[in-house]
């Protein structure tokens, strides 16, 4: 078993040199070609003085450069910080500052973003992927020069399993992103589980649907590498146009699919599946939110060759439980989140962290080798969520508090029972309602703000908000929405903002969300 993620590239290149490592938009990159490019990126980074553990940010759209950049950072001994290319500049600067990443691997199409980052005084010492002249006084190396650095000489870099592999970002309630640190060991523990559970093999072709800063991508790329299989990187255009997406799945003979349910629902409703042959699909994995039952039922009927697996976890723990839908029979309702993965202990506890027995509802704690090592630079939060309590055998060990409420069914499967906080899921993305409120309050005319979620009727949530504004300033919903787009990712921007003269309050003075939702959301079931 490899000790580091990038070691898997060398192994796959020996095992299957001419097999495709990745495909994107009709083009491919073999494992041998990838190994050479990884070597080039690593050398370029080492030339800039990267040392073991230094954070290196990667800001790329969907392309064949993604795996080269990812493994190149790791092979140089760096800690990868993949950035969501949909993030506004403000959010990207926060991530770079908080992680201390001063090197950025990017592409020519993002020169404006990089210029904006430099204008915002972000400390970048080197960039890779831009042309000289694009970055002012910051040294840069274009991709063409990176490729020339590659050689067969092995890199002598000492990296161990407990070194940081990557730092992923998700929504945080204060507006500061949560930065989740994984090691090579925690990533590989997940990879081993995935390869074994889904029987991944060299002829498999795994979809990469999600943005590469998410934990979904750890499956799409790293589990594929462990099996010397192929990752089919889907372009945003294909993801937005379901009929085109179905053509790509057929043409690329995708065998393993992993995404949020929303993407599969779009494929079912607008993918023209009756005219496609998708018999290559053997596993369909979905996670992140509820799959509406009627759609799941129809999709299973459309894809008779595929087994379906409901996967549960979070960026902090990779995947921690899973439920394979029965091969022939109808799926139970609601769909359980299943049983713990082979290397995971799942414990349901009450507020005092004592185990809840007899099928009662409680918070889910996770202990296992796939759990993150902690939030980057946030010791207070780490103390709150990585707690010590007795493990089987009587010694104390570290458990991760998921914040998810679950209960154990009589057959031993776990079922999801809601969140303990104000986190909601919008098309699979985590959104903290407090973050939306913080962003609203950051707009000059906004005096008070409250965000809430309503159901979209398809298993996902829609964020809405209400504000009280300065009566002396002319404010429209449009001007508020435009303002939010500079600080929040698009999926977190409310679909509607009501401008009210006051917000309903509880006797203690807190915003009364229940009353607010009842007054404004007459068209959907509420989540918070």
């Amino acid at each position: 078993m490899p000790v580091t993620l990038h070691r898997m590239v060398d192994e796959a290149a020996m095992r299957r040199p001419d097999g495709d490592a990745a495909r994107c938009d009709g083009a491919g990159l073999t494992w041998q070609e990838l190994a050479v490019r990884v070597n080039g990126v690593a050398r370029a980074l080492l030339d800039t003085g990267v040392r073991r553990g230094d954070r290196v940010a990667v800001l790329l759209g969907k392309s064949l450069d993604v795996p080269a950049a990812f493994y190149g950072v790791l092979a140089a001994g760096g800690a990868l910080v993949p950035i969501d290319p949909k993030s506004p500049v403000e959010q990207i600067s926060r991530i770079l500052r908080a992680t201390g990443a001063t090197r950025l691997v990017t592409e020519p199409g993002r020169r404006k973003t990089v210029a904006d980052l430099l204008a915002a005084d972000v400390d970048l010492s080197h960039t890779i992927g831009l042309e000289p002249g694009d970055t002012g006084s910051v040294p840069t190396l274009p991709w063409s020069a990176v490729d020339q650095l590659a050689s067969d000489r092995p890199l002598v870099v000492n990296v161990g399993g407990l070194d940081t592999s990557y730092v992923l970002h998700t929504s945080g309630s204060t507006g500061e992103p949560k930065l989740i640190r994984h090691t090579h060991s925690s990533a590989l523990a997940f990879v081993e589980w995935a390869v074994e559970t889904y029987g991944l093999r060299p002829d498999d072709r795994l979809s990469n649907h999600s943005s590469h800063h998410t934990c979904f991508a750890t499956f799409d790329f790293y589990a594929a590498a462990r099996a010397a299989a192929t990752t089919v990187i889907l372009t945003p255009a294909a993801m937005l146009m379901p009929a085109s997406l179905a053509q790509v799945i057929e043409g690329e003979r995708v065998s393993i699919w992993y995404s949020v349910p929303t993407a599969l629902v779009q494929l079912l409703l607008r993918g023209n599946l009756e005219e496609r042959n998708l018999a290559s699909l053997r596993w369909v994995l979905f996670a992140g939110e509820t799959f509406p039952e009627k759609h799941l039922h129809h999709l299973r009927a459309r894809l008779p060759s595929a087994r379906f697996s409901h996967v549960y976890g979070s960026t902090e723990v990779n995947v921690c439980t899973y439920y394979h839908l029965p091969e022939k029979d109808a799926a139970p309702s609601p769909l359980p989140i299943g049983r713990p993965c082979s290397n995971t202990e799942a414990l349901v506890v009450d507020d005092a962290l004592e185990e809840v027995t007899g099928g009662g509802t409680g918070e889910l704690l996770i202990r296992g080798s796939t759990v993150m090592s902690g939030y980057w630079g946030d010791p207070d939060r780490n103390r709150r969520v990585l707690v010590r309590r007795p493990a089987p055998g009587g010694f104390d060990d570290i458990y991760f508090r998921t914040g998810d409420r679950v209960r154990t069914l009589s057959d031993g499967n776990l079922t999801f029972a809601g969140r303990a906080d104000l986190q909601v899921k919008v098309r699979g993305y985590r959104v903290e309602l407090e973050e939306v409120e913080t962003a609203l309050l950051g707009l000059a005319p906004v005096h008070e703000a409250a965000a809430f979620a309503v159901s979209d009727g398809e298993g996902s949530s829609i964020v809405r908000a209400a504000v009280v504004v300065d009566p002396n300033v002319e404010v429209t919903q449009k001007s508020l929405l435009d303002g939010l787009k500079t600080s929040l990712p698009l999926y977190a921007v409310p679909s509607e903002i009501e401008i009210l003269s006051s917000l309903p309050r509880t006797p203690t003075g807190k915003v009364d969300r229940k009353k607010l939702v009842a007054a404004l959301a007459d068209d959907g079931e509420t989540h918070a």
Partner: protein, 99 residues
Amino acid sequence: MMVKLMHDDRPVNPAGIQRRILDFIGEELIAEGLDIGPDDDLLSGELLDSVAVLRLATFVDETFAIGMKPTDFLVENFQNARVLAAYVVRATRDRESDG
């Protein structure tokens, strides 16, 4: 070439359709002050999200009454305002020859 619209009998050429599409995107889907042209990529994933793309599709379908089908959700029909306008012209012609 002139295409007759079904709902208001106002003849509109492809350039006019393109203008209305760009106006809708500018006014409803993207932040004020962002400039967008007929060849700008609507499907980069960074300008419009999936909800905005669906709103655009609904606007086009209702405004030009083309009877959009699920099978029309193709990259080649939506990549930019120019090809989207051309698709509206084709769909209108198909509809008129059907009816």
